[in-house]
């Protein structure tokens, strides 16, 4: 399929998609419970809290305990969603996630809000950019990085239906809405958002929009770029990646995350084994974030369509 961007592109928060989906899940399934660590409005779990107060648990600023309590709820058959900023959800809770959640394979879903450099003014401590690497390394864990409001909603609902622990990453800011309610979403499967034959741009989260813009720019230079929205980083859609490598012969990955162990690494792990082609990565280059406006940080950290275009040209130059 080819995604056509509206003009102007509407803007909406991914975390709102999470919050709205939780309410729908609560209506559909009495076993859905939600926990939060003193951030109910930031994580937009307050919608669920208003509607289902008996199944909503405020856990205070105690994230490790929140993870364990969610685990206990899951042991008794609940589908437990817990949410806080990604910096705490992924990093502070790692030991609980590893031993209690993943080793036991419990039905706990983690809503990691405020991921990426676009978190903005709060600065490095609150700009989670390590979650992909952490979650990808854990057996039994799944990882989804939705690109916009609608996809966040679908990803949240799909994660409830997927057995075992799932981490879902959201951003803080309004981001371009590139999909609509009817856009296909299958947990664990990437989606072609723009056909192309010369190179494949593989992106997740906010970078899907930047990849679509990059595709437009490249087409003006007669370069035909495929855009793959790889919303699920684990389990990884290896078939689609290998097929894209075969059919286009070059790959650029784009993510709002550290280059180490992120989307680029995940794609490379498949491509080097199955069908090596020139690859470039657009990511945060092993450095902490800083305060600033989200847009100026995206520029400064090289996470824009123009950076993807430049990376694509580098990859194409290496293509025989």
């Amino acid at each position: 399929m080819n995604i056509a961007l509206a003009d102007p592109v509407p803007m909406k928060k991914t975390r709102e998609g999470f919050g709205r989906a939780l309410v729908e899940l609560g209506e559909e399934n009495p076993n859905v419970c939600v926990l939060v660590g003193d951030l109910s409005e930031s994580t937009m779990t307050h919608f669920f809290a208003q509607k289902f107060p008996e199944r909503f648990f405020q856990m205070g600023v105690a994230e490790q305990n929140m993870c364990g309590v969610a685990a206990g709820l899951a042991v008794m058959g609940k589908i437990a969603f817990y949410s806080t900023y990604g910096a705490f959800a992924a990093c502070r809770d790692l030991d609980q996630i590893r031993v209690t959640l993943c080793y036991t394979k419990l039905n706990v879903k983690i809503g990691g809000a405020h991921g990426g450099i676009s978190v903005g003014p709060d600065g490095a401590t609150h700009q989670a950019m390590e979650e992909f690497a952490i979650m990808r390394s854990l057996p039994n864990m799944s990882l989804v990085v939705p690109c916009d409001f609608h996809e966040a909603k679908k990803a949240t609902k799909a994660s409830a239906a997927h057995p075992g622990p799932v981490y879902i990453r959201f951003g803080r800011e309004d981001v371009p809405v590139v999909t609509d309610e009817s856009t296909p979403f299958t947990f664990g499967k990437g989606e072609i958002f723009g056909e192309g034959t010369d190179i494949t741009l593989v992106a997740c989260g906010t970078m899907v929009y930047e990849a679509l813009r990059a595709r437009e720019e490249l087409s003006r230079e007669n370069i035909s770029a495929r855009v793959v929205n790889l919303h699920t980083l684990k389990p990884l859609d290896a078939d689609l990646l290998v097929r894209s490598a075969r059919e286009t012969g070059a790959i650029v990955t784009a993510e709002e995350h550290q280059v180490n162990g992120g989307l680029g690494g995940a794609v490379a792990e498949v491509i080097v084994r199955e069908h090596p082609v020139p690859m470039e990565m657009v990511a945060v280059w092993d450095r902490f974030g800083q305060s600033g406006k989200p847009s100026e940080l995206m520029d400064a950290f090289g996470l824009r369509a123009k950076n993807i275009v430049a990376a694509a040209k580098r990859a194409l130059a290496r293509k025989r």
Binding site: G60, Q64, M66, G68, A71, V75, M76, V99, Y103, T104
Partner: protein, 300 residues
């Protein structure tokens, strides 16, 4: 097949709450200790002291207090138990096997590639282990979640976390303690194995946790201090916990690491090592049997 006659009318493997009398519990606790030493002699890997100290209150929990169905570990009517201190697997597995979760002979494959009894509890491997553990400080939180879910479901289930005293140094324990009191979870009755020993020595010298009962009380819990080897006192304490409303209960069980083996008692060197064959033989003689006899019983 064992020809041994169970010491009470209710068989050890039965569904429900066994409520065995103190003398039968004392006899079972002795057998649990024999299992622990024998399996450790064979594995030559694992923790000895803590499991021997836990044998008495563990037996009271499994053979008197808790309603369980070993043949169907996820039985809706079960009480929930969880050892947050996962390293005491020799006593956990011995209690489970004697209660009927799996054959006693499986204990002899503790920590082996072939067996299901992993070094630390694994829900993936051992029938009846509901949640994996082994990294300290996580289990009380899990029990808070189980207690909340049970209340949500209107299930009268009681929840029995077991913690070690060294584990009280983990901050996450106190996060969990705070939340259990906040949610008034009177369906939780925790037990702490308070032997004052951890890997590097006496708990009070490594990182003091005293006054422990006062800490728990100030966190909103009902705390009961007792001798963790006094079986009638343990029965009374768990009965008392059922009467406490609006707050969770913690039983601080003062135990002796290595209890009933003279050369192991209260010696921190026995925290994390198994007895060598000759040491195990001496221990089993002190426990009223021999290595060969007890191993044959376990294999029968």
């Amino acid at each position: 097949m064992s020809t041994r006659v169970e010491p009470t009318a209710i068989p050890a493997h039965a569904r429900g709450r066994l409520a065995w009398p103190p003398d039968a519990l004392a006899e079972k606790a002795l057998e649990i200790r024999r299992d622990i030493v024998t399996l450790l002699v064979d594995s030559q890997s694992g923790h000895t002291g803590g499991p021997l100290g836990i044998a008495d209150f563990g037996t009271v929990l499994f053979f008197h207090e808790m309603s369980l169905d070993p043949a169907n570990p996820k039985w809706e009517g079960r009480d929930f138990w969880h050892f947050s201190c996962g390293h005491v697997t020799p006593v956990i597995y011995s209690l489970m096997a004697e209660r009927g979760y799996f054959p006693v002979r499986d204990l002899l494959q503790f920590r082996t590639f072939e067996g299901h009894c992993q070094g630390h509890p694994s829900a993936h491997d051992t029938p009846g282990i509901e949640v994996s553990s082994g990294s300290l400080g996580q289990g009380l939180s899990v029990c808070v979640g189980v207690a909340l879910a049970s209340r949500l479901d209107g299930n009268p289930r009681r929840v029995y976390p077991v913690m070690s005293d060294g584990e009280q140094q983990e901050g996450s324990i106190w996060e969990a303690a705070m939340s259990a009191a906040h949610y008034r979870l009177d369906n939780i009755c925790a037990t702490i194995d308070y032997n004052d020993i951890q890997i590097d020595g006496k708990v009070q010298s490594v990182m003091g946790i005293a006054p422990l009962a006062e800490k728990w009380r100030s966190f909103g819990w009902h705390a009961i201090e007792l001798n963790g080897h006094d079986i009638p006192a343990l029965i009374r304490a768990y009965d008392e916990a059922r009467t406490i409303k609006g707050k969770p209960t913690v039983v601080l069980a003062r135990t002796l690491m290595g209890k009933n083996v003279s050369f192991m008692e209260d010696d921190y060197h026995w925290h994390g090592k198994p007895p060598k064959k000759d040491e195990g033989e001496r221990a089993l003689i002190e426990l009223g049997t021999t290595y060969e006899a007890w191993k044959a019983r376990m294999l029968s």
